[in-house]
């Protein structure tokens, strides 16, 4: 077997992960969250590729957030070449991202989290008894998918957005249909918030740093500065000066630290830093629910996703209603020797893409930092604390609580945390 190629890889998390726990007396001696997903080396693969291949290739890093990777990649390339896209292009990208946010949150809430709290193996097993809830989940997912498909050309790995614009816009009929679909699921999104804000979550409070984008007058999505609830604020361009990636020998995933300390990204971080910018139903529901924000409990990330679900369904409607869409050609540009960085909010948190181009528009260097890489160390610390709090519980219950915690973070290896193998060693 050819083992000649070993280099940095990016899709290291979504898919398969193990957890190694070692408990000694009342102490958690070892807690290693091991990503065992095989390496695909995306940052290396795109070197030497022409600018119009890049977003298409990096989209394949992740099916669950392929819109996110596509959009941030296009923005990084456009930033490098100094391309200023039209407002319509921005709006279409926002809408596509909103579609992905809706389907990703609904999938995570109903398919990955809810079975744990309802005591089932899967949402499919729940379907006979909880027909309404599972039907609702599928309806919401369907509309999120539709938004991505109508704008992006297909649900997974959308292709109509290219450097400088779109290959096509949407017409009046499609616009009206999307508005109608979003209006249909708005009550369903509200019911989703009601359901998830009332679940009983384990308590796990500790001091932590929540990082997210921030915009002046809107809940952040595709632009803004990077802030934290510890008073940090900076431009995305400086990312390399504060975020450092490293790796553990037990994992195929890297992890990121900010100024050598762990931090958290994702829906709860966005909410903690931006809850004052919520509008309409999301704002009303959150205030009425009594859920405390800002919040330091990672399990509340689930509730934060439900808040965002309502917010983005409603904002999707607003954005569609106020925009007139028309066919327009992508803007002209010339590739040049350059570097470009872009940071956006994807369902699981901040996503950074950084590229360097040569004068003919071929990539010479790339760096990609995904949300799960940023959350990894915080997850490990939380698992340690949680386990030390519940040592008197039965082994199965400890495992279930740990799994719930990992899922609450919505890591891109959600898939594998559902067959999390816990190596149990108790001395």
């Amino acid at each position: 077997m050819g083992q000649k190629i070993k280099l940095n890889h990016i899709c290291k998390v979504e898919g398969h992960a193990n957890l190694e726990l070692e408990i000694e007396g009342s102490r958690v001696k070892k807690c290693n969250l091991e990503a065992v997903e095989g390496s695909r080396f995306f940052e290396g693969l795109i070197i030497g590729r022409k600018y119009d291949d890049i977003s298409e290739m990096v989209s394949r890093i992740c099916g669950i957030c392929s819109v996110g990777h596509t959009v941030v990649s296009l923005k990084a390339t456009e930033n490098a070449f100094g391309v200023k896209v039209t407002r319509q292009t921005e709006v279409l990208r926002e809408l596509m991202t909103i579609g992905e946010r809706i389907r990703s949150h609904a999938t995570h809430l109903y398919f990955l989290c809810l079975p744990d709290y309802a005591g089932y193996s899967s949402a499919l097993d729940m379907a006979p008894k909880y027909k309404k809830e599972i039907g609702r989940a599928l309806e919401i997912v369907k509309v999120g998918n539709k938004l991505v498909r109508v704008i992006g050309g297909r649900e997974m790995h959308p292709f109509t957005s290219i450097v400088g614009g779109f290959t096509k816009s949407i017409n009046q009929e499609e616009k009206e249909d999307l508005i109608k679909s979003l209006k249909t699921i708005l009550p369903e999104a509200t019911k989703t918030f009601d359901l998830f804000s009332k679940l009983k979550y384990p308590s796990l409070n500790r001091d932590r740093e929540h990082m997210s984008l921030k915009q002046i007058d809107e809940f952040p999505l595709l632009s803004g500065i990077i802030v934290s609830d510890k008073g940090f604020n900076t431009s995305p361009n400086t990312y390399a000066s504060f975020i450092k990636e490293n790796f553990d020998l037990y994992s195929t995933s890297k992890f990121a630290l900010k100024d050598n300390k762990e931090f958290v990204v994702g829906a709860l971080s966005r909410l903690n830093n931006n809850y004052k910018l919520l509008e309409g139903s999301a704002d009303r529901l959150l205030k009425k629910s009594g859920v405390k924000i800002p919040n330091n409990n990672p399990f509340i990330n689930i509730v934060a996703q439900a808040v965002e679900l309502v917010h983005w369904v409603e904002q999707g409607i607003v954005l569609l209603e106020k925009t007139e869409f028309f066919e327009e050609a992508p803007v002209n540009f010339k590739p040049k020797k350059s570097r470009g960085v872009a940071t956006i909010e994807v369902p699981r948190g901040l996503l950074y893409h950084y590229y360097e181009y040569d004068k003919s528009g071929h990539i010479t260097k790339a760096n990609i930092i995904t949300p799960t890489v940023q959350n990894l160390k915080s997850m490990e610390s939380d698992i340690r604390i949680l386990v030390s709090q519940i040592l008197n519980k039965k082994k199965e219950d400890i495992i279930l609580d740990v799994e719930k915690l990992i899922r609450a973070y919505d890591p891109c290896f959600s898939c594998s945390t559902h067959f999390l193998r816990v190596k149990w060693k108790k001395t």
């Binding site: 940095n8 898919g15 997974m156 109509t160």
Partner: protein, 251 residues
């Protein structure tokens, strides 16, 4: 006959193909009620270790663990279906061995790589026999649903074998090659329904090559669009490098 025992498993990939199955929203529950989904680790906690009547396998073989898993899944499955382009053709990650800088890249990025336990990324059939292929990045929902229905009815699912251009003609799309775009339509399988050209985007080949492609003719077409040499190679091998190589050698 009882319901067939079906498994949906994954090795190294992006989870997009599995999600595509779970996103067949309208008929999902109906379809699943006709089968016994005994293993689907992405969405359920309790999963049978086999044997399975049918296994849908997503992802490419990219690590030593993947290699062990595909061998194990082959043994346990009566029917093994390669789901998606990673599983069928190796996808983008398998172009690494064709990268002109492949030897220089690793040194610049990682201090040590032995812990990654990588193997050269490849399709599943490089290592074990595959019974059916549903390529596409991602595969088409309707195609997956039809495939499952065919299996349930005892029909042999048929592989599609017409080019993207054929579908474009049927749909009366404007030919993107005619307007100067670099479209792979002539050499790529059109089971997607010519999705990209129908949205004014050139086909980039994610469904994989046609078995009877006219490589020489396409090379000339590409050259006339200013695409040749390294760029031509990069474009044509993007999703299915080994398969293209194999077919071109045969010509």
């Amino acid at each position: 006959m009882g319901k067939p025992k079906v498994a949906i498993h994954s090795i190294t990939g992006c989870a997009g193909c599995q999600l595509t199955i779970y996103f067949i929203e309208d008929v999902l529950l109906d379809l699943l009620s006709k089968i016994d989904l005994v293993a689907a680790p992405m969405i359920q906690e309790k999963n049978s270790k086999g044997p399975y009547d049918v296994t849908f396998l997503e992802g490419s073989v990219s690590s030593q663990e993947d290699l062990l898993r595909v061998k194990e899944l082959r043994e346990k499955s009566k029917v093994l279906v390669a789901l998606g382009t990673c599983s069928s053709y190796g996808n983008i990650q398998s172009t690494l061995s064709y990268h002109k800088n492949q030897k220089d890249i690793p040194k610049g990025i990682y201090k040590t790589t032995s812990h990654l336990k990588s193997v050269e990324s490849s399709s599943v059939d490089k290592h074990v026999k595959v019974d059916y292929y549903i390529p596409g990045c991602p595969p088409d929902k309707t195609e997956i649903a039809t495939f499952i229905k065919d299996l349930l009815l005892g029909k042999t699912p048929k592989a599609y074998s017409k080019p993207v251009c054929f579908i474009c003609n049927l749909k009366e799309n404007i030919c993107l090659l005619d307007v100067g775009k670099e479209c792979l339509g002539p050499v790529v399988n059109g089971a997607c329904g010519a999705l990209c050209p129908s949205n004014n985007h050139a086909c980039t080949g994610c469904r994989g090559p046609l078995d009877d492609l006219n490589y020489a003719a396409h090379k000339e077409i590409a050259k006339s669009k200013g695409v040749s040499g390294e760029l031509f190679k990069q474009r044509i091998i993007k999703y299915a490098p080994k398969k293209f190589e194999e077919l071109v050698k045969k010509l």
